[in-house]
Amino acid sequence: MIRSVLVLGASGFIGRRVLRTLAAADDLIPLAAGRRVAARTEDGIEALRLEDGDTAALSAALARVQAVVDCRAAPPEEMRRGNAALFHAAQAAGRPLVVQLSSMAVYGNAVGRVDETAPLSEEQGPYAAAKLEGERLAAAYGRAVILRPGCVYGPGGTQWSLRIARLLKARRLGDLGAAGDGIANLVHVDDVAQAVAAALRNSLAEGQAFNLAMAGAPTWNDYLMAFAQALGHVPVRRLSARRVRLESKLLAPPLKILEMAAARLGGGAWAPPLIPPSLARLFCQEIRLVSGKSEDLLGQSWMPLDEGLAETAAWCRAQGA
């Protein structure tokens, strides 16, 4: 029976929710860790400040727990280093169970119904490759549960919530026609946190991978429409295929440079959101993540989309989107 759990990346979008869910459970005691945590979180949970590369502190933290949930978000190179350090330290610290947040990106450009037995691929680039390498390390380590969420949305989410909301507000996303026929394999951040808790409690989960995407996930067009409606950014605009192509191919690269420059200057929030080619590709990828295994084994249920969007939209509006 697992009781004490270290949550890495505890101040991030997913980490915060995982932490809160674990803290609310009677049977689990979380210990928060991250680059930006104080000694105690605002909910009174014990927290450790953990700098990247501080392997000694990581080992010490791991020695105190029976499981670790890795919610760190990082660029590919940093992710690789972080994964290597984690599994190395865990090996030395009594081999706690590792719950790893991978990604649906490991399925590459697959289409159709995709369950956990589908072939994995690095074809979607460095991010997917780093996630895949993490999964390999987890398999070699032996005591791990791999969660492969689709697009995690919810209050606090930047990538699939705030960024999309800003683009909807600017009418740079909307009805994409054929370019939006792909499936938005959404999963609410609370559902991810539930899955983490269930994986910690269920010994049968060890050694398994689980897809996490809501049942009956909408198409991107439907998601954008529903989100725009929840945000009040209607009527949505029909964007021509020409425009989406132009934006992702021509506009995105210079905007990306701008964004990086802004981030370096400590700003970033003012930088315009962009539609990189990878996102445009995802919008038309007709991949349906099959998550029946998590329903069966982890007892997973899904937040209804309208409920999740209402809450998300309220948060995005408060951020000015």
Binding site: D181, P235, S240
Partner: protein, 557 residues
């Protein structure tokens, strides 16, 4: 997967569980619906992805009266996407009353009710990209809309129903990627069905004869066949397949090709309002253009014993420069740049004398800023937009409009398609269209106009003046409304009254099904495509269960 029939070996039979003939609105919608069914589906399309004169010429035929019906190779497109490569996108469901048997409309009544079709409309709207299935202003809009005609009140007319518009979506362009990617599915381009070969007992389809213009010929065998070749061509295929039944397939009762309906349509009268009116478009949350119209409500239709009629506020007649509107004059002068199908009802065929043309030119010059602003609107919202502003809307400074009427046609067995004796390049007999209307068709519109004139005056919002004696003339000025080909293989419970049954299966031919407006027993006031698609989706549902069954094998030991 998408293939070209010219790349297949000559004479090699092609097989499938289900074969759909025609990749237009209905064939494509059905194919999309069947992609996950587990059935091997083969979609046969005559044309290619671009227009081709050779394929289009296969549509040519003759018409009994050129003043009443446009040539048969116009107002329909023989290519991937079918006539949705040209359509206007007005996407309307039928009204419940349209399905009823009404003793004042001869041969009316469907063997199904509105409720049987209703479940399929939302998906039809979705495929047509016509937004939500919501056709009343209060359902479609959460924000309050300005009334269409302020102060107008009528017990017989409603101004709350909506027209919704598709992009207009070219089904071929829009869904090509899905058809290309689908497993268990093949679309064959340049594959013309030239005949339906029946089994010797005449009770089922044995195979379809397919030919390409480049000379390939091969049979297609499928457990079930759906004809979705359009409202005229479905009838032609049945009439032209005469090897077992001399009158053609499904034509034992001489019904195929009869009851041919389009719609009655025309512009009439002068509406002068003293109160504000809004006759333009409102944009729904989903981005679709919606427009309110004046509709004769069902209770009034029953009381007056007339068919279904609607009308829209329209700009004054373009051809007459007295409107002094730069935009309208510009449209008149630019008519040669407008496709035939759309120019026709702009009076594009009337030639004006030079002084009148000069007055049009003067209108344009005198209204330069207005005309320029309009050009910019056309460029931005129509030419460059993927969801196009559906039609020309002119705000009249004088609050003066004409009335654009669209009305139901009564089914009439003498309005009909026959084979004309000529053959096309593939040896298939060509069609002759003898379109007719009935006295009731005109009477229905006349009654609606009378009610409108009465209620506009009674509500004190203005006047509607028109010449009651000109109704018949105005409603047939351009002949049958183009592009709506209805009723030629009508649906009825009994084989004596219809070609197909309530499931769209040809009476007496268990594996031949028809999809499209040809099966509508009545025409309603609505443009046909949305209903044709909904009916096709209903048929697809039926076929999923029907075709999934293993073929019955009778053992005779």
């Amino acid at each position: 997967m998408i293939l070209d029939a010219n790349d297949l070996p000559d004479g090699t039979p092609q097989e499938a569980d289900l074969c759909i003939v025609g990749a237009g609105a209905v064939g494509i919608a059905m194919a999309l619906d069947l992609l996950d069914s587990g059935l091997r589906v083969l979609l046969l399309e005559s044309g290619g992805v671009a227009p081709e004169a050779g394929s289009q010429a296969l549509y040519a035929g003759t018409v009994a009266d050129p003043a009443l019906h446009s040539p048969l190779d116009t107002y329909r497109e023989r290519r991937f996407g079918g006539s949705t490569t040209l359509w206007g996108g007005r996407s309307m469901p039928f009204d419940p009353i349209d399905f009823e048997a009404r003793d004042y409309i001869a041969h009316s009544g469907w063997p199904i009710a509105f409720a049987d079709l209703a479940p399929y409309y939302p998906r039809a709207n979705r495929i047509a990209e016509a937004g939500a299935y919501a056709y009343r202003a209060d359902q479609a809009f959460t924000r309050p809309l300005a009334p269409m005609i302020e102060g107008f009140a009528s017990a017989d007319l409603s101004t709350d129903t909506l027209e919704r518009f598709s992009c207009p979506t070219d089904f071929g362009r829009r869904y090509r990627h899905k058809l290309e990617a689908a497993p268990d599915f093949r679309l064959l381009l340049h594959a013309n069905v030239t005949g339906i070969a029946l089994a010797a007992d005449g009770g089922s389809v044995d195979h379809l004869q397919v030919a390409t213009l480049a000379g390939r010929r091969f049979p297609v065998r499928a457990r079930h066949v759906v004809l979705a070749a359009g409202g005229l061509e479905n009838a032609r295929l049945l009439l032209a397949s005469r090897d077992v039944h001399p009158a053609g397939v499904g034509n034992g009762e001489d019904l195929v090709g009869r009851y041919y309906m389009c719609h009655m349509a025309g512009t009439i009268g002068a509406l002068r309002f003293t109160r504000p009116v809004w006759h333009g478009y409102d944009i729904a949350d989903d981005g679709t253009y919606c427009r309110r119209r004046i509709a004769l409500i069902p209770e009034a239709q029953r009381r007056l014993r007339v068919g279904n009629v609607i009308a829209r506020l329209h700009h004054p007649r373009i051809i007459d420069p007295a409107h002094r509107n730069g935009v309208l004059s510009m449209l008149y002068l630019a008519r040669m740049f407008i496709p035939y199908e759309y120019a026709k009802r702009l009076d594009g065929e009337v030639r004006l004398d030079l002084p009148t043309q000069a007055r049009h030119l003067w209108n344009v010059l005198a209204d330069m800023p207005g005309t320029a602003a309009f050009m910019w609107h056309l460029l931005r919202d129509r030419r460059l937009a993927e969801r196009k502003f559906p039609s020309i809307i002119i705000r009249s400074k004088a609050n003066l409009y004409s009335l654009d009427v669209h009305g139901e046609q009564e089914p009439n067995p003498d309005s009909r398609l026959t084979l004309c004796g000529d053959i096309d390049a593939l040896g298939m007999p060509r069609l002759k269209a003898d379109w007719r209307h009935t006295r009731q068709d005109i009477a229905s519109i006349a009654a609606m106009l009378e009610v409108l004139a009465r209620d506009v005056a009674a509500s004190g919002v203005g006047t509607f003046t028109y010449d009651p004696d000109s109704v018949a003339h105005e409603m047939t000025r351009y002949g049958a409304y183009g592009g709506h080909h209805i009723g030629t293989t009508r649906m009825a419970a009994s084989p004596r009254q219809g070609v197909v049954d309530a499931q769209c299966t040809v009476h007496g031919l268990a594996n031949l099904h028809l999809a499209g407006s040809s099966v509508f027993p009545t025409s309603g006031q609505a443009n046909p495509t949305l209903t044709a698609v909904a009916l096709g989706l209903r048929l697809a549902d039926h076929l999923k269960t029907l075709a999934a069954r293993p073929p019955v094998s009778v053992s005779t030991s």
